[in-house]
């Protein structure tokens, strides 16, 4: 086939999503952030939300999400994305507000904002990339680092006597009445990517229908932080992260949501 034949529209099998800019991406090879960005961009486009979506970027490697996904963005202070999203969503009820955060941002410094946005049932989408590490600052331990994992601040492996246990934040927010959909996904295989995309779509639909908070954890890789090749990272994740963070829906009350208001008798 000649080049001309190859680039004919009918031969196209894949292209960059319309809402992903062709800015140079700063993510390391094998990083999950890039794949999840693609899914978010596709969902916003496919659901016709380009003029409605307001993203809240975190402090972490995905701080520059606003350079890649072509929708309006507000960049939050470390951990505070759910607070920003709360106000942006309440003040702009016809818009769809989502946060995109790392596990350190959401589960450590921002744990209070996370719990309270979820328990208030803010009509927002929260997406957390759980790579079990502080990628951006050079691979330190995060609350979600699994036991035994070596990081810059747990150089001999995370120990319970020193560092306590990994925080399973999805299981925590699933207990809160304000969340309508809590799921844990991954993006390491084609099948996983498809499932993750459906989950993101469902979450955005819940936000449009004002069903409460949808929380999507994506167990992802940080090849640089883990000091593994992209290929080995995926294997390490499957063998070590998935047993601790099993994939699948944790909660789904988005169908047939019961009336949540409780009358208090005086």
């Amino acid at each position: 086939m000649t080049r001309e034949e190859i680039i004919r529209p009918e031969n196209k099998v894949y292209s960059r999503p319309r809402l992903i800019d062709d800015n140079y991406m700063h993510y390391c090879p094998g990083c999950s952030h890039g794949v999840v960005h693609k899914l978010v961009a596709e969902v916003i486009d496919e659901m016709g939300l380009e003029d409605k979506a307001i993203g809240i970027a975190p402090v972490g490697c995905s701080v520059f999400a606003y350079n890649y996904i072509d929708c309006d963005w507000i960049e939050a202070a470390h951990g505070r994305a759910p607070a920003l999203a709360t106000a942006a969503s309440r003040l702009n009820p016809d818009k769809v507000v989502f946060t995109y955060q790392g596990d350190g941002d959401l589960a450590a410094i921002g744990s209070a904002e996370t719990i309270h946005a979820c328990t208030r049932g803010e009509n927002i989408v929260m997406i957390m990339i759980n790579n079990g590490i502080y990628g951006m600052t050079g691979g330190q331990m995060s609350p979600c680092t699994i036991l035994g994992a070596k990081t810059a601040t747990s150089p001999y492996g995370r120990r319970t006597d020193l560092n306590g246990f990994p925080l399973k934040v999805s299981n925590v927010v699933a207990l809160l009445d304000g969340t309508c959909y809590v799921t844990r996904q991954a993006v390491h295989t084609v099948q996983a990517v498809r499932k993750a995309k459906n989950a993101i779509k469902k979450a955005f639909q819940n936000a449009i229908e004002k069903k409460g908070t949808s929380f999507i954890e994506i167990v992802g890789t940080c090849s640089s932080g883990w000091k593994l090749t992209p290929e080995k990272s995926n294997k390490w994740m499957e063998e070590n992260m998935f047993p601790q963070y099993p994939l699948g829906d944790i909660k789904d009350t988005s169908k047939g949501l019961e009336e949540k208001t409780v009358e208090v008798k005086k």
Partner: protein, 369 residues
């Protein structure tokens, strides 16, 4: 007109004025002595009338970041707190300044440091006027001395904040927050329409609607040092403009004054009583009351000090504004501080005594201590 005259606390006046300004959202966390702001708003239920959002946040950290999120969408949003809570907000305030967002923050000061006391104080002057958070930034700081000014400075604070795209603060003390006075509330203004917001704030992250093709990003991050320096230079130009245009103060009895008092907020009114008592005794004392603590009325104080023998800075703290007063007059006039701490508000006699001790009873050629 008469119907509009109400008797209320300063904190209540802030809440009522916010609704009437057409404020879009309030986010706050209870703390004495300012909880009446949130309480009044919840009781008024403005979401049913003007559509204003009111939310009790989980902390002051959350409140200020809610303000950040709301302001970034072009809305007129505010929070209020008292000293310990405002300390928690400093990171968020720095982000607001760096992202050039309009917002109103109210601090009804109580005595510190630490958990301190719930009683009135002015000990957050440094924090408010010298940039309490990190980085090179300034806040427009308004200091009300009456319940009327509590109401009036809500609209002034918002208007200045939108004009210059920088956060402003009402720095009140616990006295003005808690005392009841007559107040004329402003007329109810409608909240801006979505269309008006997009016209006024074309930078806001409102979703790419109305045919806008380029995305709006509100951020304080810039890793390219050359660009970040340019950003800082832009902030500094804005601050210069504000210093040029927005200095506000009140001057009384300064024409013939032999001694000058400089005081802000509630204590300025107590100083007025001391000044009247002094004048009855034939001692001519005048007063400058800074209304904007930043920008500070350096020139006004320098001019008023030209013919005085001494300046007494009266503050409900250990001496903070005195540093700016000294900057204003260099070493041309002796400047002394009088204040009480721990939540104690000086009375007129104490102020007059301080004037006598430091200046009036002191021979002009006495050695400086």
């Amino acid at each position: 007109m008469k119907d509009n005259v109400k008797l209320m606390k300063g904190n209540e006046a802030i809440a009522m004025a916010a609704i009437r300004y057409g404020c879009d959202g309030y986010f706050g966390y209870p703390i004495t002595p300012q909880s009446e702001v949130l309480e009044t708003l919840e009781a008024q239920m403005p979401w049913e009338t003007t559509g204003m959002v009111v939310l009790q946040a989980e902390s002051e950290v959350a409140s200020i970041n809610m303000v950040y999120g709301g302001a970034a969408t072009g809305k007129a949003v505010m929070t209020s707190s008292s000293s310990p809570g405002v300390s928690l907000m400093q990171e968020g305030i720095s982000y607001l300044a760096a992202s050039e967002l309009p917002a109103l923050i109210v601090n009804v000061m109580r005595g510190g440091p630490g958990l301190g006391t719930i009683h009135p104080s002015q000990s957050d002057y440094f924090q408010a006027t010298k940039g309490g958070g990190h980085g090179d930034y300034r806040l427009i700081v308004l200091a009300p001395s009456t319940v009327q000014e509590m109401a009036d400075f809500v609209s002034l604070g918002f208007d200045l904040s939108f004009k210059y795209r920088t956060p402003s603060m009402i720095l009140a003390d616990g006295v003005v927050g808690q005392m009841m006075e007559k107040v004329v509330l402003p007329e109810q203004r409608p909240r801006r329409t979505e269309e008006e917001i997009r016209r006024q704030c074309p930078w806001a992250a409102t979703g790419k609607d109305n045919g806008r093709t380029k995305r709006n990003v509100v951020t304080s991050l810039e890793l390219d040092s050359a660009v970040m320096e340019k950003n800082n230079e832009r902030f500094q130009r804005t601050y210069k403009e504000i210093e040029k245009n927005e200095v506000r103060y009140e001057a009384k009895y300064t024409e013939d004054a032999e001694y000058l008092i400089v005081a802000f907020g509630s204590i300025a009114r107590i100083c007025m009583k001391a000044i009247e008592d002094a004048r009855k005794e034939g001692v001519k004392v005048g007063i400058i009351r800074p209304i904007t603590l930043w920008p500070f009325p350096y020139d006004a104080i320098r001019e008023a000090a030209a013919n005085v023998k001494g300046i007494l800075c009266v503050e409900i703290n250990a001496g903070q504004m005195i540093e700016d007063v000294r900057l204003a007059v260099s070493d041309s006039v002796p400047v002394r501080h009088f204040g009480r701490m721990g939540g104690i508000v000086p009375n007129p006699n104490e102020i007059l005594d301080a004037l006598r001790r430091d200046f009036i009873d002191k021979p002009a050629n006495a050695k400086e201590d």
